[in-house]
Each structure stands twice: as C-alpha cells, then as structure tokens.
C-alpha cells in the first residue's frame, strides 16, 4: 500500500500522472472523432492547439526541447535570482523557477496563471550571469509567451 502511495505521489510531483490522464483522454477523443466520421480540416498545428490547447498540451517544438536540454545543466546556484531585478513584479517571479520548469516535465504551462515575461525588465542579466550558460532570458521569454493569456 505504501509503495502505491509513494508511486502516485511521485507521479504527482513530476506531472506524470496528469500527462497520463491527458494521453488517455486525447486518445479516446481521437477514436470517438474517427467513429463519428469527422474529417480533419485546416492546418494540423492550429488544429492541435484548438483541440488540446485548453488542456495545456502543446505540440513538441525543437526550440523548446533544446531549451529544456540546456536547462538541465542548472546547478541551482541562485545567481540569476540574485542578479534579477524585476521591476514591480507582482506576483513575484524567479528566473530559477523558469529554468526548473523548463528542465522538468512541466506540461501545465497554461495554469501557471501568470505571464513570467510580463514582469521581466529584459535586461538579460540572468543569462549573462549563469555559470552553466543557460539562456534563461530566452526560457523566461518563451514561458511568457506560452504561459500568457
């Protein structure tokens, strides 16, 4: 019993459980659509966004994967946080969070609830200071665009 609980807790931590639920749901929706005889129309990427966007699922993109790989080099030194001087940031945001979010399986961009780029002054100090060379500002920017309304 303890093992199961640990299993689910861990999946909850990493977002795996949510990913699985979404997978099953989208799979079922696909089958139902096929049965109903609805033919797909228009641009596939736009269709993907329309169908699955509301659930927070995004089509994988090369640039995002590259950023995620780079973000994995993070050693959590916190220099970006210390260097960051976001102006009037409310709610307050931490560049480290963007890196951690990008490097982990974080599919729930839409529910971040905030637009990280919105509070950013664009000084790029976070990327310059990073000892691991992670393009933090690019990640923030991307999160801002994806996470925004």
């Amino acid at each position: 019993m303890r093992g199961y609980r640990g299993f689910f807790r861990e999946m909850g931590h990493t977002g795996t459980l949510r990913a699985m639920v979404l997978q099953v749901r989208t799979g079922a929706a696909h089958v139902l659509r096929q049965l109903a005889g609805r033919r797909p129309e228009g641009d596939p990427v736009a269709r993907f966004h329309a169908d699955y966007g509301p659930d927070g699922v995004r089509p994988p993109e090369l640039a995002a994967n590259r950023l995620a790989h780079q973000a994995e080099a993070c050693r959590v030194c916190g220099l970006c946080t210390m260097e960051c001087s976001r102006v009037g940031g409310e709610p307050t945001l931490d560049p480290r969070d963007a890196v951690v979010a990008a490097s982990r399986l974080e599919i729930d961009w839409r529910r971040l609830g905030v637009s990280p780029g919105g509070a950013c002054s664009g000084c790029d100090a976070c990327s310059r200071v990073c000892p691991a060379g992670i393009p933090i500002h690019e990640i923030q920017d991307r999160l801002g665009r994806i996470g925004g309304p």
């Binding site: 861990e10 909850g12 931590h13 990493t14 977002g15 994995e72 050693r75 959590v76 030194c77 916190g78 220099l79 946080t81 210390m82 260097e83 960051c84 001087s85 976001r86 102006v87 009037g88 940031g89 409310e90 709610p91 307050t92 945001l93 931490d94 480290r96 969070d97 963007a98 951690v100 979010a101 490097s103 982990r104 974080e106 729930d108 529910r111 971040l112 609830g113 905030v114 990280p116 509070a119 002054s121 000084c123 790029d124 100090a125 310059r128 200071v129 990073c130 000892p131 999160l143 996470g147």
Partner: protein
C-alpha cells in the same frame, strides 16, 4: 586543541580564522571555489532584490529602502527555519553577532588589502553591470559612496572593447528601474575618454591585474583626474585591481575629486568575487592547509580521522564542515540529493526530508512554488551541531557552517554571505567551547 575545517569559502575561512585566533591548532582542507568566489561585490546580510521573494526591500509606507537591521528583524519574525532564527533569539543578538563577525573579517582582510564598507544601519542602492539596481548591505572592495540614490549625477566611463559594458544601455536601464521603483533618478551621463591600449581587453578579469601595476594605475589616474565632483559618481566596470583595490580606490577618489566606484559584476565578470576569494586565501595562508579532495571521514573515540586524496591522513578533536551546497560541492545531486561526506540528513525550509530523492524528480509542480532544492541542507542546533533525522545530536565534535546549513534559500533572501559569517562565527565559538571541555565531556 585541534580542529579541522573543511572548506575555504567565507564560512570555512571565518571559522578557521576565528578558531586560530582563539589559540586552536587549525588545519584547513581547501578545495576549489565555492559560491563566495561568485560574489558580485556586495556582502549581503539580509537583502531583498526588488520583486523577488517575500522579503520586502522597502518600507511600504515611506517608500525608502529598509535598513539591513530592519530586514533582519523581519526575517527573524517570518522565517522560523532560517539559520538566523536558529542562531539568534532576536534582532539585537543578530546585530551584535554579525557586527562582531564583520569587524573580525575586516581585521583579517586588512592584511591582504581588502576593505568592507558599510554597516547594518544603512541600505545602499548599487548599480549592477547592466544598469539594474541592487539593494546591498556591505560593499566588498569598493567605496560605500557607490549608492546611486545618494548622488545627483552618475557618470559612466566608457571602456571600449570590454564585453558586457554598454554604458548607454546601462544608463537607460538604471533610469527606467529607479523610476519604476519610485526612487530619485540622478542625472545620468556617459563619458568617452581616450582609453589607453594598456587597459583594453575583452574581459574585466584581464584588465584588473594590470591596474595592480604602477603603469596601469597611472594610466587610469590620468583619465579620471579632475573628472569627478563631490556629488558626482564616476562608475567603472569591475576592473579596479585584484590585490590592492582598496588603496587604488582611495587614490582615484582623491585624484578625481569625488566618488569613484565599480558597478557590481557577477559571473562571468565577478572580479570582486575573485578578489574576495584571493584575500581570504591570503588571510588563511598562515594556517596549515591541504589542497585535496576528502575521501573518507571517520569519527573515533577521541576525535575525527580524515583521509585525503593522495593518501594524506589528518586527525583532530573537532571537525567543522563548511563545504557549501551545489557550487561548493557540499551537496551532491548526481543521482539522489545527498551530503557526500557523512550522509547527513537534509531538510528543506518546510522541514521536509530531502536527501535520497532523485534530484531530477525533486521539482515541485507549479511555477513560483518554492523548490526543495533551493533550501535543502543540514539541520543544526544553536551551536551549529548537525542533527540526525530524529532531531538528536549527530556528534558533539561536529559543526557545520555556511550554505551547507539548510532551511533557507540563499538566493531569494540574499542571506548567503550573512549566514556564512554568522554560522562560521558561531561554529568556531562552539567548537572552541567543546575543545575547552576536553575529552571527558
């Protein structure tokens, strides 16, 4: 009376020097560079970055930046797992201990020629390299007048060919930031003097050593002479020497006729951190030092035995661990999060056990949630003796200091340096007290 200190960052150096001053036979195991070497030039006791974290940086009613002592007050009241809350009953005690530690540090760094300006009663608003502002408590190796809100004019000196030094951009950013923060905006200007080839290089770290030499000093003095005024801050990139910064700054201030300061520069332009680490190394050079990785640590009946890479064996009655976190190597995250030397249990600021969790799975979901990695570290009692998972003493001959102590996020509240000072200071006092009790205790 013998002690081994593992670590040569701020915490380890403070502990080692304080123990040596109390007549203890200290051996220091030094490794590479830790977080201290990444310092950008300010030594913060409890500073908040505008817009980051919960610690306010200014008085909500009056709008003025909070004094360090006021921030300490807030921190002690609001963060029960923070090392300050473990160490101190109230802000008065914190001020007393921190002031004593800073005073001692000033004494140790006077030899290597590094000055620490500032006090706990005044906050400073300093410019970063890109023009963003930083509320800072103490300034390492710069004059305390670098405060951009205390002058009526800030003049950037253009240094052609230096990467990351874009005065016009910095000036625009600073104006924008000060305005948005509701602080007075001084007149901002860029001056482009004829810059000598002698002082031209793409990185600040390569110009700085040239300013230790007389010809470099003379060249810079010629540029700055008469350019300053009492109310005008001349702002340079972090190039003002490596080993004799304090005297160089004094010289320049006198020549220019007004304050001259460096912008704070973090990695890869952390000249100040390099300077700080070098000065600490010089201050501790008279101690017995071994530069090697620690391979094994064992506690015997009368003390500790260490085996270093290369086969050296060390013995002492007490051990102070000041190995840092992820940068210093005090915590390993290759597979699971763990303390590699003794396998001490680790906790985050919510009191959750963190060691043993695979690092890549430790992330808590949601943007903006405090992540366990940010505040993971060893839990210790008031004497800085690490505790086991059940809250018992691990050993009364073992002490910890610096970032290795968990329960706080050094980046968010910007208390890393202050904690290194306070815990190093306390660990030394407690270790000496333990040595005084002898083997029978």
């Amino acid at each position: 009376m013998s002690a081994i200190v593992i670590g040569n960052g701020l915490a380890g150096s403070v502990a080692a020097l304080a123990l040596a001053e109390r007549g203890v036979d200290v051996t220091q195991v030094v490794g590479g560079y830790g977080a201290t070497a990444l310092c950008g030039g300010s030594l913060d006791v409890a500073a908040a970055s505008p817009g980051v974290g919960w610690l306010p940086w200014r008085d909500p009613l009056q709008g003025r930046p909070l004094k360090p002592v006021e921030r300490l007050h807030l921190l002690l009241a609001e963060a029960p797992t923070h090392p300050y809350a473990v160490l101190f009953d109230d802000a008065a005690q914190a001020v007393q201990d921190l002031s004593a530690a800073i005073e001692a540090l000033r004494g140790w760094l006077a030899g290597p020629g590094l000055e620490i300006a500032g006090d706990l009663e005044h906050a400073r608003v300093l410019p970063n390299l890109p023009g963003t502002v930083r509320v800072a408590d103490f300034v390492v190796s710069g004059p305390a007048e670098a405060d951009v809100t205390a002058v009526s004019e800030v003049v950037w000196i253009d240094v052609p060919g230096l990467e990351a030094w874009d005065p016009a951009f910095s000036a625009r950013t600073l104006a924008h930031e000060l305005e948005a923060l509701g602080l007075p905006v001084p007149a901002l200007r860029v001056e482009r003097p004829d810059w000598p080839a002698l002082l031209t290089a793409p990185s600040a770290g390569r110009i700085a050593p040239r300013l230790d030499r007389p010809e470099g000093r003379a060249a810079l003095a010629a540029i700055l002479a008469g350019r300053g005024a009492k109310d005008r801050l001349l702002l340079l990139p972090p190039i003002l020497g490596v080993d004799r910064t304090a005297s160089l700054v004094r010289e320049l201030v006198e020549l220019a006729g007004g304050p001259v300061a460096e912008a704070l520069g973090h990695a890869p332009h952390a000249t100040a951190g390099y300077r700080f680490q070098r000065a600490l190394a010089q201050a501790t050079a008279s101690l017995e030092q071994h530069e090697a990785r620690v391979e094994a640590v064992r506690e015997g009946d009368t003390g500790w035995q260490l085996r270093l890479a290369g086969g050296t064996e060390l013995e002492s009655e007490v051990l102070v661990l000041a190995t840092g976190r992820y940068v210093g190597g005090g915590l390993a995250t290759e597979e699971t999060i763990r303390e590699p030397l003794l396998g001490l249990p680790l906790f985050d600021e919510d009191g959750r056990r963190v060691d043993g969790i695979p690092a890549h799975r430790s992330a808590r979901k949601g943007y903006g949630n405090p992540q366990p990695l940010y505040s993971a570290g060893v839990r210790a009692d008031r004497e800085m003796r690490p505790l086991t998972a059940r809250g018992e003493l691990r050993s009364d001959r073992l002490f910890v200091a610096g970032d290795l102590v968990g329960g706080f996020d050094p980046a968010r509240e910007r208390t890393g340096m202050g904690v290194a000072l306070a815990t190093g200071w306390r660990a030394a006092a407690a270790a000496e007290a333990r040595l005084g009790r002898g083997a029978s205790a």
